[in-house]
């Protein structure tokens, strides 16, 4: 190590808590004015580490130094005081307020209890000039695009005097073009002396932006490398400790039999068409992928297909039956499976045992019930099957779902839906938050079910997963399907340009 004092130095950080991968002897040195990436799989301990650095969690052992001084953070307030700011993955913005109001929220410059908005606006303009983060303080946040909202978050922490920024998965909600924009901003910030800790699991992005990269696996720091010295593949192997799988499906199993057919579907939410003129078919053995930036109607599409929202226009047919007005239960019983986007919100009964969770959505069907009675034995047996086939790591079907790690919860949900052998599966982000090994296993199960005739609607933010698995790929933008692409030829960049509307129509 050279003579300069490091911006941040973590020595032997250890944190244990039950059920979650802990930090075990983490060592990390971040030089001033560098972009330092911390990479690792979901659940490797990145978030825990950053929460410790930001004062949200206290380590059981180890030492944190900031600019050469040992720090003991008891709350984020202490961390902010030491010049550390955090840009969260999920934006914490009041959308009905202006940029200015959001930035000053919580640290308003006041004279005798009256907020001095002019002073604040001046400071914000100055900050955005100095750091090259263009933003108009008077605009409403709800009118801003995702990338601009992120800039508001960055400005928020700069406004509070932070010179060390932690960005937690900053590109998760961005399309490729916005990522480029973000990277330009980050490089600008670096030139002005800001230190950036960039948390991600997207290796190509990390290789493009970082000055150094620290890899975390199973709560340990595995290595710190320079991006020039490694390939994406080597980095992935460091992260996983083994080979990286790919989501490609092999030969086509698409048949002529249309299982689910959607015609001119339109859904209004609060006086606005959240979904309009949506038409597509899914055939037996076909995977239809829907690509789109979050919030472009995917949720409404899923809800309309599951019967959780009733459409104002259009038709949904399952086989020969018009199911547009069917209740969710009737659709379930007719063979529509559902992997929800948010497993805690819609997928699980957290305090209940696994066997009760594996009957969720199937409670009216064999083997979970007979007549009005719950068949506890049948449910246990089926749960055992799901646990074994999908490799859910758990003591047994009587454990409560909240004792499982996120990845295992996801495997339970995917397993529950797949083992029931639905005709159609509506899957939103089926591999979100699970480790690479489990992801490969889920992909394999999907391929096998597809070969056996499953019709799958796949909604995912993972463009590689979409391109790799889908037989047909639609792009959704502002509630309509704007392009139909061939996954065999499309690249993530082209897909991204359709998703943002940069490129239009001209179906491939």
């Amino acid at each position: 190590m050279d003579e300069r004092t490091s911006a941040v130095e973590l020595k032997g950080i250890t944190k244990t808590f039950p059920g979650v991968v802990a930090n075990d002897d983490i060592n990390l040195t971040v030089e001033p004015s560098e972009i330092h990436a911390v990479v690792g799989e979901n659940g490797a301990g990145k978030s825990t580490l950053m929460k410790i650095l930001y004062g949200m969690l206290r380590p059981d052992g180890g030492e944190i130094s900031v600019n050469g001084r040992v720090a003991h953070f008891r709350s984020p307030k202490d961390a902010i005081g030491a010049g550390i700011g955090m840009v969260h993955q999920h934006f914490m913005l009041a959308t009905n307020l202006t940029v200015l109001e959001n930035v000053v929220l919580g640290s308003e410059p006041a004279h005798a209890g009256v907020i001095d908005f002019d002073e604040a606006a001046d400071r914000i303009r100055e900050l955005s000039r100095t750091y090259g983060v263009p933003l108009d303080p008077e605009r409403l946040v709800e009118d801003l695009a995702v990338g601009e909202r992120q800039r508001v978050e960055i400005l928020k922490v700069l406004y509070r005097g932070a010179r060390i920024l932690i960005l937690d998965e900053p590109t998760a909600a961005l399309v490729p073009q916005e990522v480029e924009e973000l990277f330009r901003n980050l490089r600008e910030l670096r030139e002005r002396g800001v230190t950036i800790i960039f948390i991600s699991h997207k290796l190509d992005e990390v290789l493009a932006i970082a000055d150094s990269i620290t890899v975390i696996r199973d709560g340990h720091t595995v290595a710190t490398v320079k991006p020039q010295a490694v390939t994406a593949r080597q980095l992935a192997e460091l992260m996983v400790g083994s080979e990286l799988p790919t989501p490609e499906t092999r030969e086509s199993t698409v048949t002529d039999v249309v299982v689910l057919s959607v015609r001119d579907l339109g859904v209004r939410v609060a006086d606005r068409w959240a979904l309009r003129n949506v038409t597509f078919d899914i055939r037996r053995g076909e995977i239809v992928g829907i690509a789109g930036v979050e919030g472009n109607g995917q949720r409404e599409l899923v809800d309309a297909l599951m019967g959780l929202l009733s459409p104002q226009e259009g038709l949904i047919r399952l086989g020969d039956a018009d199911i547009t007005r069917w209740s969710p239960r009737k659709r379930r019983e007719a063979g529509i499976g559902y992997v929800p986007e948010d497993r805690h919100l819609r997928g699980l009964l957290l305090p209940s045992p696994l066997w009760e969770n594996s009957m969720l959505g199937y409670q009216t069907m064999v083997p979970f019930s007979s007549g009005p009675w719950v068949n506890k034995g049948g449910a246990h047996k089926r749960t055992d099957d799901v646990i074994h086939e999908y490799n859910v790591i758990t003591p047994g079907p009587d454990t409560s779902a909240l004792a499982l790690s996120g990845g295992n919860q996801q495997k339970l949900i995917v397993g529950r839906e797949m083992v029931a052998e639905p005709k159609v599966l509506i899957a939103a982000h089926p591999t979100r938050g699970i480790d690479v090994g489990a992801q490969a296993a889920v992909w394999e199960h999907i391929r096998r079910a597809r070969a056996a005739g499953l019709a799958l609607l796949l909604i995912s933010a993972d463009l590689e997963e979409l391109i790799g698995l889908s037989d047909t790929l639609h792009v959704i933008l502002r509630g309509t399907l704007v392009a139909k692409l061939d996954p065999a030829t499309v690249t993530p960049e082209v897909l991204g340009s359709y998703m943002t509307g940069a490129r239009e129509a001209a179906s491939a």
């Binding site: 819609r346 409670q363 790591i393």
Partner: protein, 368 residues
């Protein structure tokens, strides 16, 4: 299993700590008002353990138990039926009037009165359910309002239509007497105190509620809706229908609260009919952790405390002290339950994590 014993002992801490705390606070209050707590407790125990007191305890516990069940059915899906009070009083009035108006063979007569009571209770609670589903009125607000309305309607009906023609010099306002075919004779008489037979029906009712909530598909839907309404809806549960059905069941059970007094004591609806049972039911359900077995224990405890407190007047101690005791029991059970629940949950997560680690080690040892 060591871990299981440990968890069972932890759960035992809930009632034990509640009772200890209740005794401590009551003692403090007694000391403050210048009474000797030991004397008070000693006389309560010696009076409360007499055979006739035990029979009275059970008699007092039965309506509390039924009220607790009615509240718990709603609680299990996060519905707060605060209207049990109004539901049971209206049900008791109309069931008594209907029972007096018909003549039927003995078992049928009793069954008919119970049926009327359940239908009236269900109807009154169902109003709140429909308002919640159709108009988004929260059931806490509507059931409280419906309690007032029930009182008003009940008084109006009793005074104008259902009242027994008054004999000269008779002051009491009540419905006509139900003929003996609509009575339930006591199970047995203990030390001069009837042990009323409705206790048997209450036991059956408790088992029925248990089976309904923990063993049927409907109960699964109900509990799922209580734990995670969004997930339940996505799984095919119709939330509106579930709310109405649950309110109907809760109200039907509430309708039976007054039956033990009607069949075994008053044989008519009178203005002396006990009030406040619906609200006591909320406390009993809370203390009993919404489980029929727990509610039984809580109802017996409250029944005993009520009975044993009668002696305090003779000792010159205000028996209102006992209200404080009950209040402390309720509060400490709720708090202790939450604390123990968290500890048990943490233990469970720890055990699962431990198990997971072992399984993973085993898996790593075997080459994939």
């Amino acid at each position: 299993m060591n871990a299981r014993v440990k968890i069972a002992l932890l759960w035992l801490l809930v009632p034990v700590s509640a009772i200890v705390l209740a005794l401590a606070v009551s003692s403090l209050v007694l000391i403050i008002i210048g009474e000797n707590p030991l004397t008070a407790f000693r006389s309560m125990v010696s009076y409360g353990t007499q055979p006739n007191s035990l029979a009275s305890m059970v008699n007092r516990a039965v309506p509390l138990y039924v009220a607790g069940l009615a509240v718990a059915v709603g609680f299990k899906m996060n519905l707060f039926n605060i209207g049990v009070e109004g539901q049971y009083r209206l049900a008791a009035l109309l069931a008594a009037a209907a029972g007096a108006a018909v003549s039927l063979p003995a078992p049928l007569h009793v069954a008919f009165i119970m049926l009327v009571a359940m239908v009236v209770g269900a109807f009154w609670a169902g109003i709140a359910g429909v308002l919640r589903v159709k108009r988004g009125v929260h059931e806490v607000v509507s059931t409280i309002m419906l309690n007032f309305i029930a009182t008003g309607i009940g008084a109006y009906l009793l005074a104008n239509f259902l009242r027994k023609p008054r004999l000269p010099n008779e002051l009491i306002i009540q419905t006509r007497q139900i003929p003996p075919s609509g009575h339930l004779s006591p199970l047995t008489v203990v030390g001069g105190e009837d042990l009323r037979s409705f206790v048997l029906i209450a036991v059956v009712l408790g088992i029925a509620v248990y089976v309904l909530i923990w063993r049927t598909r409907f109960g699964y839907d109900l509990r799922a809706s209580g734990i995670n309404p969004e997930a339940a809806r996505a799984s095919g549960v119709d939330p509106g229908r579930m709310i109405v059905t649950t309110m109907l069941i809760s109200g039907a059970v509430a309708g039976l609260i007054g039956m033990t007094d009607l069949f075994g004591f008053f044989h008519a609806y009178t203005l002396d009919f006990p009030t406040g049972l619906g609200f006591d039911g909320i406390a009993v359900a809370l203390v009993g952790l919404n489980h029929p077995a727990g509610i039984a224990i809580a109802a017996l405890l409250f029944g005993w405390v009520d009975r044993a407190a009668q002696i305090l007047d003779l000792e010159g101690i205000p028996k209102e002290v006992i209200i404080i005791t009950k209040g402390v029991i309720i509060l400490s059970v709720v708090i202790a339950y939450e604390v123990v629940r968290r500890i048990v949950q943490a233990q469970e997560i720890k055990a699962a994590a431990e198990e997971t680690r072992k399984l993973e080690e085993k898996r790593e040892a075997v080459p994939a």
